[in-house]
């Protein structure tokens, strides 16, 4: 069953080497590190990293890699052969590495169009894979929160992200399952399916949370939180 979860955003700039000489978001990275540390300290049998991908599928944590060269060719391409992870899974794996986690790890992509019931079912099945399952959920809110945001301003973003933040803070999983996939798509909120996997994994349990970061420095909603499920 699910015993703990961490929620982190997955923008490319979470990778320090992508922001040039300026760390740009040191507080965000610090909050993510703390969330990963707390997750690992919950002594899980397995950590499942969940994040958006082209389609729903698992990746082999031993064989697939984070590759940042597509975002910054100057970093140099990885040698051909190993499969490249969707960025959220790659960044999540890196957070576990940095937290010193060497235990069992699984990487689960969830398709951008996966409907809520399928997301919830996936979460429930992930939670059954071990007595103590921890989830590292890599999910972003709306990218349309301001005129300078990547998707420009959509006035509906504020209420959408506020609802997500409230649901995480209050452990209100049904509210996450009720998120409108169409609206999330309009708002470029790529985290919607992963949040719903989390909700399915909690599966009736009681979640309490600590919010570690909640801001949108570049017009994209970033939320970092630690959840304990009991």
């Amino acid at each position: 069953m699910l015993t703990a979860a961490a929620l982190c955003p997955a923008p490319p700039l979470l990778a320090r080497e992508l922001t040039g000489a300026d760390p740009v978001v040191p507080e965000l990275r610090q909050a993510c590190r703390e969330a990963a540390d707390v997750l690992v300290q919950a002594d899980p049998d397995v950590v499942v990293v969940v994040g958006a991908g082209e389609r729903t599928r698992a990746f082999d944590a031993a064989a697939a890699h984070l590759d940042l060269a597509p975002y910054a060719p100057a970093l140099g391409a990885r040698p051909a052969g190993p499969e490249t992870l969707p960025l959220p899974l790659g960044l999540g794996g890196r957070l576990l590495d940095e937290a010193g986690y060497h235990g069992r790890r699984e990487l689960q992509a969830v398709g951008a169009d996966e409907p809520a019931p399928a997301c919830a079912a996936l979460g429930a099945s992930l939670a059954r894979t071990a007595p103590r399952v921890a989830l590292l959920v890599m999910a972003d809110g709306s990218a349309r929160r301001s005129r300078r945001a990547p998707g420009h301003l959509d006035e509906r973003s504020a209420a959408f992200d506020a609802a997500v933040g409230r649901a995480i803070r209050d452990g209100d999983m049904p509210a996450l399952l009720a998120l409108d996939a169409g609206l999330a798509g309009d708002l470029m909120a790529t985290g919607r399916p992963a949040w719903q996997v989390l909700a399915g994994a909690v599966n009736g349990g009681r979640a309490t949370s600590v919010i570690r970061y909640d801001d949108d420095p570049f017009g994209v909603a970033y939320l970092v939180a630690s959840l304990t499920v009991g």
Binding site: P11, P12, L13, L18, T19, G20, A21, D22, V24, Y71, A74, A143, A149, P150, P217, F218, G219, V220
Partner: protein, 305 residues
């Protein structure tokens, strides 16, 4: 390439194998472009004549150049062009005390003396200069001895067969770049033989010196052949006639052309840029270093949030 028997990179008597350039107390790796700010203690240099003739104006220029990102201050007491005679005593009077005053105010800045005369070089080194910037291709052979004696750096420039303070008159080369390579490498070897430290030797193709505009353009275009020697390369392009003749512009309107030539030279791997306009030049060489991948961008967020 050259008949000068040039030492190659990594050779015990060639350029530093890691490409390090040492000037004064500082060590600079390849990929870090350096701006050398011109501060002329002359009443009659070609660009903004007399602007730093007074000591207070010159000091203001030094302060400003360093604030704008200069790594090296190049102090000169004699214009390159023909003009009223400046004897050794007068040259020393113009530069030595000023160099000492800069050294006192800025203990760590690299100071260069723009001179070809060994007596002036000696006075400059005694006052705290770290580099002897000889634009006249070793005309005074004893300058290298002075650099060696003081552990100073030496710029080895190409001037063809031209003598100090003369203008080129119908100069012609079968292959100007081959001549640049041969002469600068010959001078570098001579500097080594004189005892100048190998990681303090710099080559300068010396645009406009012993060259018409066609020659300077060719040298700019083929500068990678000089940087390929492994020796650090200095370029002095700032507002020069080859820029003016290329664009048909007087000295006060040559900044954009200078910066274009600066960018091409930086792309070809030049490491020191001797300039009048520090702020603009700093931006250009930093931008080119960033394009080359030698320097990270300052702050990248676009498309990455």
């Amino acid at each position: 390439m050259s008949d000068a028997g040039a030492p190659q990179p990594g050779h015990p008597d060639g350029p530093d194998s890691a490409g390090m350039l040492r000037l004064g107390k500082r060590a600079f790796p390849p990929g870090q472009p350096l701006i050398m700010a011109i501060v002329n203690r002359t009443p009659d240099s070609f660009f903004q004549p007399g602007v730093t003739w007074s000591e207070s104006a010159a000091f203001h220029r030094v302060d400003q150049a360093i604030a704008e990102g200069a790594d090296i201050i190049d102090v000169g007491g004699i214009p390159a062009a023909p003009g009223s005679e400046v004897d050794v005593a007068e040259e020393i009077r113009r530069i030595a005390g000023f160099i000492a005053a800069i050294r006192s105010r800025y203990p760590d800045i690299v100071i260069s003396a723009d001179t070809w005369r060994h007596q002036a070089g000696r006075a400059a080194c005694e006052a705290g200069a770290d580099l002897l910037n000889d634009s006249w291709g070793g005309f005074d052979e004893r300058l290298a001895d002075v650099a060696a004696e003081f552990g100073a750096g030496l710029v080895c420039a190409h001037v063809g067969s031209q003598r100090p303070r003369t203008r080129p008159f119908r100069v012609a080369y079968p292959d100007v770049m081959a001549d640049v390579l041969a002469q600068t490498l010959r001078e570098a070897n001579r500097a080594l033989a004189a005892g100048v430290q190998p990681d303090r030797i710099v080559l300068d193709p010396a645009h406009d010196f012993g060259k018409n505009t066609w020659h300077s353009l060719e040298v700019t275009r083929r500068l990678d052949e000089l940087t390929a020697t492994g020796w650090p390369v200095l370029v002095s392009l700032s507002n020069k006639d080859f820029v003016g003749e290329s664009l048909d512009l007087p000295p006060e309107h040559r900044l954009a052309g200078t910066l274009a030539a600066t960018a091409v030279s930086a792309w070809h791997g030049a490491r020191i840029f001797r300039v009048h306009q520090v702020r603009e030049s700093r931006q250009v060489v930093d931008m080119v270093a960033t394009i080359r991948g030698d320097r990270p961008p300052a702050r990248t967020v676009r498309g990455l949030a």
